[in-house]
């Protein structure tokens, strides 16, 4: 018999960190391969198909980028909260809250000139997400309620509120649950590469701004301190409650942007499927990237390759749609499991 012994590691070097993360991804791909083989498809062919369909043609690349845009936003949303050790599982709900609030303006508000209309919509999207995130923030600060539970549960509430409007006052003419198509003034311009829209530019500008915020401002310093130790932050004179509240608002706003860019950039209307779980996939992105905004972009693209690839597996190889979800789940599972190797030296000992 073998026994597993765990010894606390003092610290992990950057190199080790990267190697462990990459190995976890490789293990996840191998496991996905086994799963695919059980479905009667050659896993090597399938994995090859994943990457070629996502990156093998200009069309593939553009579609991958289209999926990466919301993932960058939700990745940033979860990531900024992780910086101060807060878990925002509610990006999905905040995405819907932002999209719903912006849609309300399209439906009830005046049609403004395009730049103004889009500015209003994007701002409302951010505000919608931030307001939705303010609820768990207040619950945490005032009543010490665990934010994992509250943000998660509020997702269902936000989605159901959107459903209420879609099946009620905003129902389309043909009685299907989607709004009429938005006027051209409310559509983000494309950047001239497939369906890639200017939401990408907003996302990338935010990446740079957030990097500066986290590492080069007083607010960022407070945020990092709060994330490291609440007691030490308080001792250093930081108002930890205020910091946590602001982080939640910012996080929600970013998720809200994912929603508004999705409806103004791709869908041109609000319906039930504007997000294919981008809020949840954003958690994987942020966890992989470890809070650095630039690395969030890299992993957002990586996961959108998976999403895009899984789509084509479904179409070209007749694999069930669940394959994509299973692959994502395996990646998250492997990454979470790999944490063990970052905090401990794992040793096998022979003995009884």
């Amino acid at each position: 018999m073998f026994k597993i012994k765990l010894e606390q590691k003092e610290r992990v070097s950057k190199r080790e960190d990267i190697i462990i993360t990459l190995s976890a991804i490789v293990i996840a791909l191998v496991l996905s391969g086994i799963f695919i083989a059980f479905n009667g498809v050659n896993p090597f062919v399938a994995l090859w198909k994943v990457f070629t369909s996502a990156l093998g043609s200009p069309y593939g690349i553009s579609e991958t980028l289209v999926k990466a845009i919301p993932l960058i936003f939700t990745g940033l949303a979860v990531g900024i909260a992780l910086n101060s050790k807060l878990w925002n599982i509610g990006a999905e709900g905040q995405l819907f809250a932002g999209a719903t609030l912006a849609t309300a303006f399209v439906i009830y508000g005046p049609v403004l000139p395009k730049p103004l209309e889009l500015t209003v919509l994007v701002t409302l999207g951010a505000i919608g997400g931030a307001l939705w995130a303010a609820i768990p923030a207040l619950l945490k600060i005032k009543f010490k309620m665990n934010e994992v539970i509250s943000t998660l549960l509020l997702n269902y509430v936000a989605i159901n509120i959107a459903d209420y409007f879609l099946f009620g006052p905003w129902k389309g003419k043909d009685n299907f649950p989607y709004t009429p198509e938005f006027p051209t003034e409310a559509k983000l311009s494309r950047i001239g590469f497939g369906r890639v829209h200017s939401g990408l530019i907003i996302a990338l500008v935010l990446v740079i701004l957030l990097y500066i915020l986290i590492y080069h401002t007083k607010a960022g310093f407070k945020l990092r301190m709060t994330g490291s130790s609440l007691k030490a932050a308080k001792y250093a004179g930081i108002n930890i409650k205020k910091t946590m509240f602001m982080v939640f608002l910012l996080s929600g706003a970013l998720a809200g942007l994912a929603g508004v860019c999705q409806i103004t950039g791709i869908e041109y209307k609000l319906h039930q499927h504007i997000s294919t779980g981008y809020g949840y996939t954003g958690i994987i992105v942020a966890w992989l990237a470890r809070t650095n905004p630039f690395i969030i972009v890299i992993f957002a693209v990586f996961l959108s390759i998976m999403l895009k690839g899984a789509d084509s597996l479904q179409i070209a190889m007749r694999l069930p749609a669940a394959v994509g979800t299973v692959m994502q789940a395996l990646i998250l599972f492997a990454i979470l499991g790999s944490e063990l190797f970052k905090t401990y030296n794992v040793k096998l000992i022979r003995g009884k």
């Binding site: 500066i212 401002t217 310093f221 490291s228 308080k234």
Partner: protein
Amino acid sequence: MSEKKVNSTLVLMKNISKSFYGNKVNTDVEFKLEKGEIHALLGENGAGKTTLMNMLTGVYFPDEGEIYFKGKKLAFKFPGEALQIGIGMVHQRFSLVGNLTVLENLILGHPENKFIINIPEKKKLIKTYMDQFNFQIDLNAIVGELPIGLRQKVEILKMLVREVDVLIVDEPTTVLTKQEADNLMQILKNIAKTGKGIIFITHKMSEVFQIADKITVLRKGIKISTVNKNDTNPRELAKMMVGKESEITFDRPKVNTIPDVVKVQDLFVNSDKGVLAVNSLSFNVAGGEIIGIAGVSGNGQVELADALTGNRDIIRGKIFFKGKDISNDCPVDRIDKGVSYVPGDRINVGVAGSRSVWENIIMKVYRLPEFKKGLLLNNKKLREYADKIIEKYNISLPGINLPALLLSGGNLQKLIIGREMERDCDLYVFVYPTRGLDVGATDFVRNAILQLRNLGKAIILISGDFDEIFGLSDRIAVMYEGQFTGIFNNGDHSLEEIGLMMSGQSEEEVAKEMTNV
């Protein structure tokens, strides 16, 4: 005769030694418990009392030495085994399930439980124990809703139901009112009468004389002596607890003091548990003066320090700093006004351990205008500031960008003290500033404290180290249960007298005691 002696001995611990990470917590300790005896284990916090008992209950293994129970050598395989053979311990933190009833808690985990439990039968059995020892508890009450005194009784009753021969209670009265404590002592005495042995861990002198038959005093992990209660007196025990007077002297030149830099009036502060920790305290501190606060830890010292520096809300009272009322200022305002705090918990409070060394050095100055660059922080200048402090205070570290928790204890304390000294404050509050440090770092810290005093700063020094208190303080206050049992000039009272004050006697009572002998 000798055979009878063997039979009456319940526990024998021989030559027990235990270290944690190279720190000796118990050195060559011997301990014996007889049937029907209440044996007090007396010593300051950190004297090694709880560790010794944790070895008796199989939580830790001794590095050296042997433990015998009823004449048989013990070798535990798992911690639960102790309870099975008849050694039970009531910890300071109770191990009860809050949302079950008293009865369910008492039955839970009983080794005789079968798949189906005959509850009425168990209830009858438990009732007999309750009658025998005069317990009054509602068996159907939810444990989480009971007051803490009753919860403790449930804990003790649970041990009796398990039919333990040895009952260990770890500082049981800290959470109790006076009446509850008296009641508890009576119950323990009744239990001892049935032939069970009781080990009573405490640092309170009054309790020792109220309850114990025999007393073993531990100091710094070493057994000082075991005495019969009738052969000793509080003075002797206090002396054993605190040890010898220090030979170390520090050069304390006369400096011009600035009166009343700090004025505390009728201060009340709660502990984390919501119990009153600082009870109506009033005192002043002058600039250029070190006031040393001695006391067994857990008597409100840390809460006092937290309250003075804004890290804990106060219930009532006023704190004046340089003539201004700062009672309700938040930590950041006090930092800006010149209040500095070197906390006792270095790793968790003094630094944000997972952040880099340089970020921890600048964590109180980054807001200053000199480190601004437009809207942004001037990271370059902040790093230079950190470099300067590392050099000036001679902090050795593996790297300025690496997490602060990688620093050794001494260097971490140098970092904290360097950071605070550089800010040039008017009040410095030090809590256990040399605890766990090596000789070199200890010297550094003590010299830094003296240097600040000579610069005319007001200094509050909370310490458990008498060398430090006597060597550095201009005045000494002794803290006991949230109040000062004495506040006097350094030199007015001997260590022995301070030891008595630390165990709850007032300055006047001590004076009487000393003239009596």
